[in-house]
């Protein structure tokens, strides 16, 4: 049973499928909002296969080993994090405190992203790397504090317990709407999506840290990012929209899928609604608004626990 869970559901294959599906849906929703049609359903898959078969160019001066290892580290840490994030209540593994491990593993890609800029010696890559690190400090603190809310409320750092707690009370998003909103903003920052795609803004730093990557490595980077999107969305669904007693009669998986798509819709709309922020604006936003609000939310949660 364990190999099945690791490799098929809710492990690698399922995540891969979800990554492709979500990335397509995301592009499609944005296109639709912008009055366009958008790519066909097989688009992410075609992109992925094409990138796999493209020539792998390495810049002179770039560290060969590091540049091939980094995307894998990124992918592996995301996949490891996915082990502990339940999909419709099923997870490959679970232990007390797995939320902290997941959060740690999910911040690994940011580090590898920065290092990717560092090892590929291009100017844009280095600037992009710096920016990703700066951005990391702006979103990560409010994100972590916001995610601490449900954990504090349910009194456990185990994701399964948090879901169970919401199961017999009410959705976390309803008790802590501010925390949910901040978590979504943090997730946007984490996934480097519009409007917080500062490290990889095309009109500013070309491709960010990935400018010099091509072929298989680029495919792995994209895959890692897409999977991170999936895992991040699943995590938010579990923490803030996990099972509710109103919906107990319904089968778990479709409900879960609907919730995940709802969060994805929020992310897509956010990228269609706003212009990209500047890095200093993000830093100001993070330290002046997001972090204090997140703290406020935790304070409210503590008060609610009494």
């Amino acid at each position: 049973m364990v190999p099945f869970r690791l490799l098929v559901y809710p492990g690698f294959l399922f995540l891969f499928f979800c990554a492709m599906l979500f990335s397509w849906l995301d592009r499609r929703i944005i296109a639709r909002v912008q009055g366009r049609v958008g790519p066909p359903w097989y688009q992410p898959l075609a992109d992925f296969i094409k990138l796999l078969t493209k020539e792998d160019v390495l810049t002179t001066g770039a560290h060969a080993l590091a540049s091939s290892v980094l995307p894998m580290v990124s992918l592996v840490s995301v996949l490891t994090a996915a082990l502990y994030v339940p999909v419709a209540g099923v997870s490959a593994d679970s232990f007390d405190g797995d939320l902290i491990v997941v959060l740690f593993l999910l911040s690994m890609p940011a580090l590898t992203y920065f290092l990717a800029g560092w090892v590929s010696v291009g100017v844009y890559s280095i600037i992009g790397g710096h920016r990703s690190l700066l951005q990391y400090f702006s979103y990560e603190v409010p994100f972590l504090i916001a995610l601490a809310g449900p954990a504090v409320l349910s009194g456990s750092w185990r994701i399964a317990d948090i879901i169970a707690y919401q199961g017999h009370t009410i959705w976390g998003a309803l008790t802590q709407p501010l925390g949910f909103l901040l978590a979504v903003v943090g997730l946007i920052g984490k996934l480097k999506r519009d409007p917080l795609d500062i490290p990889k803004a095309k009109s500013e730093v070309v491709g960010g840290p990935l400018t010099e990557f091509s072929g298989r490595k680029l495919a792995l980077w994209h895959l890692a990012l897409d999977m991170q999107t999936v895992v991040g969305i699943f995590l938010l669904v579990n923490l803030f929209l996990g099972g509710s007693r109103f919906l107990t009669g319904l089968p778990a998986f479709p409900v879960f899928a609907l919730k995940a798509l709802g969060v994805l819709l929020m992310l897509s709309l956010a990228s269609a609604l706003y212009a990209r922020l500047r890095i200093d604006q993000l830093a100001t936003l993070g330290s002046r608004w997001l972090a204090p609000l997140a703290l406020l939310q935790v304070a409210v949660v503590l008060w609610m626990r009494g």
């Binding site: 409007p195 803004a201 095309k202 009109s203």
Partner: protein
């Protein structure tokens, strides 16, 4: 602090055309900038001396693909002045009509480009979607979406019927509504304003020093517009406002341009409603008498000046083009001083560079 040198261009996603910047960065702050242009220099002025007057209309239309019509018009007017030919009023009106359509097209295009450069793809898509209406009208009139070939020496190459006019008026109605939405977005949308406010400031004094023209000058409080100031047909009989702002930053330029597009829609409507009857062209002599002429027009980016000298043969002896982008280019080093790396894209697109115009 160590300096990093960042090259912007010649191939860079924020520039549609090749041009090169070397930015010396201290952290994210731009400490120094050096510009290199000339990637688009095709030697058009020299080529003009090898082609006949008629061929030059089409060559000069390709100085710039965005404001193509205004280049051809200004050149044609210079040559007509040399020939001593008077264009019939209907021809003048039709030329002006095309110029105004082109202004809408150019300003919306620019709005899209700057929105894309600050990561606001929705506005980019909306602006370019609405631009298609104008392109459709222009294509209907002249047969070309971008290069219209609507000019000939002595008048306009296209004419329109009454049914056609009504159809265009209908399309303009839609256009008007759409532009108002975009204007609203520029005025009210917060992230867009945050990104463009206070960036690339030019004071009125700097505008005077660098002889900047067009929307960039009008955004800094210099109230010039050749269409109004020259008192020539057809603009002397039309009512329009020249939007002027005093902030001098990219946001003000955005507002100026979008408001100008709104004015242009109203201008188009007025021109269509007051179109004089009569022929659109007049016969012109094949040979141009010796002499020289200067003509000026208000292009979407500012004043464009043509100087044509003839030695009496069928080819001009000299054609000199002076484009508005050139004046805006030299202000860039001052605008780029002390901005953030992220704002470079805003500054560069804020002046509405047309390198093809500047390099020729």
């Amino acid at each position: 602090m160590t300096k990093t040198t960042v090259p912007i261009g010649p191939q860079h996603p924020l520039l549609k055309e090749p041009m090169s910047f070397q930015l010396g960065l201290e952290g994210e702050r731009v400490a120094e900038s050096a510009m290199r242009i000339g990637y688009v220099h095709r030697g058009i002025e020299r080529l003009c001396q090898e082609r006949s007057y008629v061929q030059n209309i089409y060559l000069l239309e390709r100085v710039c693909g965005i404001c193509s019509h205004v280049h051809a018009t200004t050149y044609s007017r210079a040559v007509e002045a040399l020939m001593g030919v008077e264009v019939p009023p209907r021809g003048v009106y039709l030329r002006a009509l095309m110029c105004e359509f082109e202004r809408i097209h150019s300003h919306l295009l620019w709005l899209g480009v700057i929105a894309r450069n600050i990561g606001f793809d929705t506005i980019f898509n909306y602006a370019w979607r609405d631009r298609e209406i104008v392109l459709d009208i222009m294509e209907d009139l002249s047969g070309g979406r971008v290069s219209h070939a609507a000019n000939t020496l002595g008048g306009s190459r296209f004419d329109l019927t009454d049914e056609h006019r009504d159809k265009i008026l209908e399309q303009l109605q839609i256009m008007d509504a759409q532009i108002q939405l975009l204007l609203g977005a520029v005025e009210h949308e917060r992230t867009l304003r945050e990104r463009t406010r206070g960036i690339g400031k030019l004071t009125l004094e700097q505008i005077h020093r660098y002889c900047v023209v067009g929307p960039v000058a009008r955004a800094s409080g210099l109230d010039i517009d050749l269409r109004r100031d020259r008192h020539e047909a057809p603009y002397d009989r039309l009512e329009f406002a020249v939007p002027v702002h005093t902030d001098g930053d990219v946001w003000a330029r955005t507002l100026v341009r979008v408001q100008e597009a709104v004015e242009s829609v109203s201008l188009c409507r007025q021109i269509l409603n007051s179109l004089p009857e009569g022929p659109v062209t007049t016969r012109v002599p094949r040979r141009v008498p010796a002499g020289e002429a200067i003509s000026r027009s208000e292009a979407p980016r500012g004043e464009v000046i043509y100087y044509v000298r003839s030695d009496g043969s069928d080819k001009p002896a000299r054609v000199k083009v002076r484009t508005p982008t050139l004046t805006a280019l030299v202000t860039l080093s001052e605008q780029l001083a002390d901005v953030q790396m992220a704002d470079v894209s805003v500054v560069l697109s804020g002046v509405d560079l047309c390198i093809a115009c500047a390099d020729r």
